[in-house]
């Protein structure tokens, strides 16, 4: 299965690379309302994934016959503030998490610094999770804020 994940990730990375989703100028163009490209990509992806998910959930199982696992993510105060913080970072870097890795592959050297920052940010978050739990009403540590 490792090869399956690697190949699917490679295809995803190629698409992100060639669509503008991993391009600083296209990200700024989206946030400046000057380029439709990224809105079109995200909108199309959701418009096609939503009915596909609905059909898969009706079918109820995976290709291998296992029950489909689509448990929703927990709801908490971090959804809002974390989202705002991430948005600021997305604007500054011109990359969201997937494109950080895509840009590293493309040879954009500054993306290594973005990755180092993201790992540090996630590391600090995990280390102080117990202290953030109460103010942000975060779920128990075994559950976490949500996988994704």
């Amino acid at each position: 299965m490792t090869i399956f994940y690697l190949l699917l990730g490679t295809f995803f990375g190629f698409v992100l690379s060639r669509s503008g989703a991993a391009d600083y100028d296209f990200i700024q163009g989206m946030f400046l309302f000057q380029r439709f490209q990224l809105y079109g990509i995200i909108g199309t992806a959701v418009a096609l994934t939503a009915p596909g998910l609905w059909l898969l959930k009706r079918y109820g199982q995976t290709l291998g016959g296992k029950p489909l696992d689509v448990a929703p993510k927990p709801r908490h105060r971090g959804n809002l503030l974390g989202g705002v913080l991430f948005g600021i970072g997305w604007s500054l870097a011109g990359m969201c998490p997937g494109p950080i890795l895509v840009n590293i592959g493309e040879g954009k050297l500054y993306a290594f610094a973005a990755l180092a920052g993201a790992l540090t940010g996630a590391g600090v978050f995990g280390a102080i999770y117990p202290r953030l739990q109460r103010p942000f009403k975060l779920p128990a540590i075994a559950i976490g804020t949500g996988q994704g």
């Binding site: 995803f12 503008g20 909108g43 974390g82 895509v102 610094a113 790992l119 600090v124 995990g126 994704g148």
Partner: protein, 173 residues
């Protein structure tokens, strides 16, 4: 408008969106996994950090599939560069070069700071563009709608402020 990468033309947004939908659905149907990239950051951290948060069962099971997937993302960028005219290391940062003209050390500092927001923010929010914006919205999950509005809002405000106000401070009459 073309990409920074070799000045290549972009894929049509409809094809790119359809391809991302296909990746999301194949990942779920074949492997029973929710698309999501940002959790990979804490899974990488779990190899060197040992607080209780990084020793959770979902971290151990998640990193077995997500880290190969993340390696694939980098490989996809590499293949894209090779196929599009050859791989070359670059510091090219498009519009930001025109606005600020940072030296490489400045870009490292800028990107590290941005990365802190991305890493901390996505983990606090419980997802990023893929986990909340694509999968969560498609699955009609309320927290994903809240987070998506929040990160689009945060991004729009920051870019508008930078490119319509801050970068013009020196040139305005």
């Amino acid at each position: 408008m073309h990409l920074i990468l070799h000045d290549l033309p972009v894929l049509h947004w409809a094809w790119a969106g359809a391809a991302i939908a296909a990746v999301t659905l194949v990942l779920l149907f074949v492997a029973n996994r929710r698309l999501g990239v940002s959790t990979g950051f804490e899974e990488i951290c779990s190899y060197v950090l040992h607080q209780p948060y990084f020793r959770r069962d979902i971290v151990r099971t998640g990193r077995e599939w997500r880290l190969p997937f993340l390696a694939g993302l980098a490989l996809g960028g590499f293949v894209s560069a090779i196929a599009g005219g050859g791989w070359a290391a670059t510091w090219d940062l498009g519009m930001l070069d025109k606005a600020l003209g940072l030296a490489p050390i400045g870009k490292i500092a800028w990107m590290f700071g941005a990365g802190l927001f991305i890493g901390f923010g996505t983990r606090l929010a419980g997802g990023c563009t893929s986990g909340h914006g694509i999968f969560g919205l498609s699955n009609l999950e309320w927290p994903s709608l809240v987070s998506t509005i929040a990160f689009m809002g945060g991004g729009i405000l920051t870019t508008q402020l930078l490119y319509r106000v801050v970068f013009h401070l020196g040139t305005a009459p």
